[in-house]
Symmetry: C2
C-alpha cells in the first residue's frame, strides 16, 4: 500500500487508467447533450494545500501518552493524513472533499501494527473518552468512516488498519484461512493464489478495500454466487472491544444457541475492532466459463436468471443489465447513441467456475433454459472485455464530477416475484426526482440498473444515475433523489442495502426495515459492548 500514489479525493490511483480511449470526445459530447448543457462546466476539486483544518481538540498530552504505548505503529496528525481519513468514497463524501470544506476531520490517525497495540488504543480511548473510527480501505459509500463524535467525547482518532496485513495461516484441508483484517484485496489474493487458493471476493472496490471492511459492511463480490457474500464466507474473528479481546464461535455448524458471530458482519466497527479474521477459501477452479447474452426484455432475463439460480450448476455470477444500462454501455463503447429510440434488449453476463464435468453439465442446462427465453449468445469476447475492465468504471465518476455532473449508485434486494415491480418503481422515483429538480434539469435523465447478485429466492438491484449537478446545493439535490428511491424501497419492503451497508446514510431507514423491537435489540447489544459509544459513533445507531 502506497498512499502517495492514490488520489486524495477521488477513486484509486492518481495515474488513472484510460477507459474511454478514442471515444473520449464523442462520449463527453454525448453526455453533455443528454444532460442538457450547451457546454460542460469545469468543476474541479480545490487544491489540497489550500484546505485549512481546525486544530485537533485532543490534548497533546494525551497523544503523547498514547505514543508511549504504540511503539511499532505510527500516530500522526499531519494535515494530509487527517484529510484523506476525513471521508470515505460516497458521493457526499467526495463532494465534501472536493469542496475543501471539512469542519470535521479526525484529530489523529493511528496505524497500529499489532493486536496488542489495538488493545492499547481501545483502553486509552475508553479511559479518555475518545471516539475511535475503524478505517479499512476507506471505500465505504455510506459514510461509514466519517469522523463523528459521540456525547462527551473529547476528540476523534481514526484507526487505519492497513499496516495489519499479514496472512496468518491457511488450513488447506478445512479450507479456512486466517488473515489480519487490514489486508487489501490484491495483496490477500496474491498470497492465497500462491498456494493455489482464492477467497474469491471481488467487489468493484477490490483493489483498495480490505478484508475487515468487507466483513464489517456485509459486502458482496462479483462472484458471490459461488464464493458467498461476506457473511457467508466469514468464519469467525478475534475482536477487540471495550470489555476486552474475545473470539467469536467458528464451527462448521453448531446448535449451541444463537451464534454471536452472526452479529459481526454488518456491525460496521460499532461492536469492536476485528484484528484476525478467519474465512473460507477455495482452490482455484479447474475451469471457468464466462459468456454474454442478449435477452429480448428485462423480464425475460429475470425469469432466466431465476431458473438458472434454481438449478444445481456451479454458477459464479449472473449480471443482468436493464435496457437503459445495456444502452448506456453500448453508447460508451460506441461514443454515443440515440436515447429517444431506446432498444428493449438486455445484456446478461454469466460465469461458471468449478469442476470441469460440472461446468460441462452446466453449459448444457444453461443452453436449454436460455433457448426458452430467446436469448442470443454474444460469445465469450464481450464477457472477457467486462472482466478486463471491471475495476475501471469508478474512475469515470471523478471525471463526471469535474464536468458539472453528479453520479451515484444505490442498491437493494428483494424476492424474485417482486423484482420487476421494484425495478420499475425505483427507476421511476429516481427519474422523476431528477427530472423535477428545481436547480438543474437534464435533457434525458440517465437512470439504469442491473441485477448484481442472485440467490435462490431473489436478487439484488443496483442502480446508477447520472444527472446535471446542482451547483447551488448538490448535497440537498442528492438527498432528494436518495429519499425518493429509499421511500420506494421501504414501501416495497425491500432492504435499504444489499451490500453497501448503513453507515450514516441509511440509518433513518433501519427501524422501519427491522421493526422497532429488533432495532432496539441491536441498540442494546451495542450498549452492552460499548456503553461509552467510543466505537464508530453515529454509524448504524
Amino acid at each position: 500500500m502506497n498512499l502517495s500514489e492514490r488520489k486524495w479525493c477521488g477513486w484509486g490511483l492518481k495515474q488513472s487508467p484510460d477507459l474511454l480511449k478514442d471515444k473520449r470526445n464523442s462520449f463527453w459530447n454525448w453526455l453533455r447533450e443528454l444532460s442538457g448543457f450547451t457546454e460542460l462546466p469545469h468543476t474541479l476539486p480545490v487544491d489540497i494545500n489550500s484546505i485549512s483544518l481546525n486544530e485537533p481538540t485532543l490534548p497533546s498530552t494525551l497523544i503523547s501518552e498514547l505514543e508511549t504505548k504504540i511503539s511499532q505503529g505510527k500516530i500522526t496528525s499531519e494535515p494530509i493524513e487527517r484529510i484523506i481519513h476525513a471521508r470515505g468514497k460516497s458521493y457526499l463524501d467526495t463532494l465534501a472533499l472536493r469542496s475543501g470544506n471539512l469542519p470535521d476531520v479526525p484529530d489523529i490517525v493511528i496505524y497500529p501494527q499489532t493486536k496488542e497495540e489495538v488493545i492499547e488504543v481501545i483502553r486509552w480511548a475508553l479511559f479518555n473518552n475518545v471516539a475511535i473510527i475503524p478505517f479499512g480501505g476507506g471505500t465505504s459509500v455510506v459514510g461509514g468512516v466519517n469522523p463523528i463524535k459521540g456525547q462527551n467525547h473529547i476528540g476523534i482518532a481514526t484507526l487505519d488498519l492497513r499496516e495489519m496485513n499479514r496472512l496468518i495461516n491457511i488450513d488447506t484441508k478445512s479450507r479456512i484461512a486466517c488473515a489480519e483484517s487490514g489486508i487489501e484485496g490484491p495483496h490477500l489474493e496474491e498470497l492465497l493464489q500462491k498456494e493455489g487458493f482464492t477467497l474469491g471476493h471481488y467487489p468493484q472496490s477490490f483493489e483498495f478495500s480490505t478484508l475487515g471492511g468487507w466483513v464489517s459492511a456485509r459486502g458482496a463480490g462479483h462472484q458471490s454466487i459461488r464464493y458467498g457474500k461476506a457473511e457467508d464466507w466469514f468464519v469467525g474473528a478475534e475482536i477487540i472491544s471495550p470489555p476486552g479481546p474475545w473470539k467469536t464461535e467458528a464451527f462448521p455448524a453448531s446448535a449451541a444457541g444463537p451464534q454471536i458471530k452472526d452479529l459481526i458482519p454488518g456491525s460496521e466497527g460499532t461492536l469492536g475492532i476485528m484484528t484476525d479474521i478467519e474465512f473460507r477459501i477455495h482452490p482455484l477452479p479447474q475451469e471457468k466459463y464466462y459468456n454474454a447474452y442478449i435477452f429480448p426484455s428485462f423480464e425475460a432475463g429475470i425469469e432466466a436468471s431465476r431458473q438458472l439460480m434454481q438449478t444445481d450448476i456451479p454458477l459464479a455470477m449472473i449480471r443482468l443489465s436493464d435496457a437503459q444500462e445495456t444502452f448506456f454501455y453500448t453508447a460508451m463503447q460506441m461514443g454515443g447513441g440515440d436515447p429517444s429510440s431506446l432498444p428493449k434488449f438486455c445484456l446478461m453476463l454469466i460465469g461458471l467456475e468449478g469442476d470441469s464435468p460440472c461446468i460441462t453439465a452446466g453449459r448444457q442446462i444453461i443452453e436449454s433454459i436460455f433457448a426458452n427465453h430467446q436469448a442470443i449468445s454474444l460469445g465469450e469476447g464481450i464477457a472477457d472485455q467486462w472482466f478486463q475492465q471491471r475495476f475501471l468504471l469508478p474512475y469515470l465518476r471523478d471525471e463526471m464530477l469535474d464536468y458539472g455532473l453528479g453520479v451515484d449508485t444505490l442498491e437493494t434486494a428483494t424476492r424474485w416475484n417482486q423484482l420487476l415491480d421494484l425495478h420499475e418503481a425505483i427507476h421511476k422515483a429516481i427519474q422523476e426526482t431528477i427530472e423535477n429538480d428545481p436547480d438543474q434539469k437534464p435533457q434525458f435523465p440517465i437512470v439504469m440498473a442491473h441485477i448484481s447478485h442472485a440467490y435462490l429466492d431473489g436478487a439484488s438491484l443496483y442502480f446508477t444515475f447520472v444527472f446535471p449537478r446542482s451547483l447551488k446545493d448538490p448535497s440537498q439535490q442528492w438527498h432528494r433523489i436518495k429519499n425518493s428511491a429509499s421511500h420506494v424501497i421501504r414501501y416495497h419492503k425491500a432492504t435499504i442495502s444489499h451490500h453497501h451497508g448503513i453507515g450514516t446514510d441509511h440509518k433513518q431507514w433501519l427501524t422501519g426495515e427491522k421493526s422497532a423491537l429488533a432495532y432496539e435489540l441491536l441498540r442494546q447489544i451495542k450498549y452492552q459492548i460499548d456503553p461509552k459509544n467510543i466505537l464508530n459513533p453515529g454509524k448504524l445507531f
Copy 2:
C-alpha cells in the same frame, strides 16, 4: 396428530414397527452377552395411572380468566396431559417418566389455535408471572421442554403449538413457503409435495417433531447438505414476545446491519413464540441416487468425505459409520457377531439429489475420488434399506430400557483436520467411563459413531453408546458419561452440540464455548426481550 396413538413415555407410536423381525431373540441374547448379564433384567416403566401429581399451583381464577380469552383453543389440566408434557425425549427425560417420579409437571397445557390467542397467553403470563414452556413435538433431547419456573413465577403453563399447523402459502417462484410453527413433519411434507415441493428436512425425529422445534433447536435433517440445516433454510418468522408481536427480516440478502433473524435459530423458545415461519422449499429432485460403500478405515472414509464435500456435485447426504457402528449394524442384521475380532472397515452411505445432468457428473466424480481410497460399492440395495428403516431405530431405545440397559447419543462438530483426533478422544472418554462405572460393568462396551452431517470445512460426529444401566442411580451414571465426553469436546474446542441444542443439559458448557463476553451478550438480549423470564426459563440461560 392423534396423541392417544402415541406412547406416553417412549418413542413414537404405541404400535411400534418391528425392526428386528426373526433376529429378535439372537439380537437380545447377543446384547445380553456384550453387557455382561447372565439374564437381561426386566425394568418396565410404571403404569401411568399409578402416577400421582402435585396439585397445580396456578390459582383456578387465573385459569378461568385465561379461558375467557382463548375461545378456539383448549386449556387443560388433565393429569395425562400434564404428564405427557412433563418431559421431552432425552434419556434423562425418559428415565424420569418411566419412574413415575414427577415432582415438576406443568400446571396447565394450552393448545392455542391462532396467533391472537398466543398473544393473549403471553399477555396473561406476563401480567401474572407465569412461566410459559413452548412445546412443539416435545422431541427435545436436551431438556428443552421441561417445566421449570423462574424466580417469582407462580406457575407453569406449557404451550403446545401443534394445533397451529396450517400451511399459509407457497411462493413457487421465490421458493419460499410459510407455515404455522406447530406443523409436524409428515403433515408439512404432504402439503408441500402435493404442490411438487419439499422442505427436505428429515431429522430422525421427523415423524413427531415440528417446524417450530426444528428452527428453535437449530436442527439438521439427514439431507442437510442439500437442503440446509434449520438456520440455513429458515427465512424469517413472526414472533410473539413480551414486548409484542414482531417480524424478523426476511430478505434474500442484506447489508442493513446485523440481521436479528440470525438470533432466532437456536433460541429455544427463550426469545418468543414463533407463530408463522417462512422457509426455503425446493422442487422434488429430478433424480436421486443413493449408494453404500465400504472403506478400509474411518480415516480413509473421512478423507473421501472431505474431498466429496469440496466438489461441486449435488450431494444431499454423507453418512460415514466408524468400524464399531458398522459392526453393530451388521450384527443387528445378522443377529450377532464377535466383538473381539472387530473388523476395521467402515460403511458410508451417500446420496445425490438434483438435476439429472449434474447427478451424472456427480457419479463420475465420486467414482474417481473413491477409487483413490479403496472404497468398494455395496450397491444401492443397502442404501435403500437404510432409507426404509431410517425412522425405526429410536424404537429400539425403549426396548433396551425395558431390559435393564441404558442408551444415549451425543453429537458435536469440528473441522476436517481435527475430526479423527476428536473421534478417538470422545470414543475413549465414553468407553472408559462406561468400563469404570462403579455400579455396572459391561463385557464389551458398545460405543459407536458416525459422521452425520458434512460441510466444506468440517463435519459432525454423532455417538451412540449402550451400557448396562445402573439401577441404583441411573441419572448419576449418565452424568458421569456425559461429563467425560463433554470435557473432551470442550478441550478440543469443538461445539457442545451440532444439532440437538442446549436446553438444560448443555448449559454449563456455553460460557466456555462462546466466551464470557458473547454469552453475557446473549443473556442481555434475553433480558431485553423478556425481563420477567417467562419464556422457557432455565433453558439456554
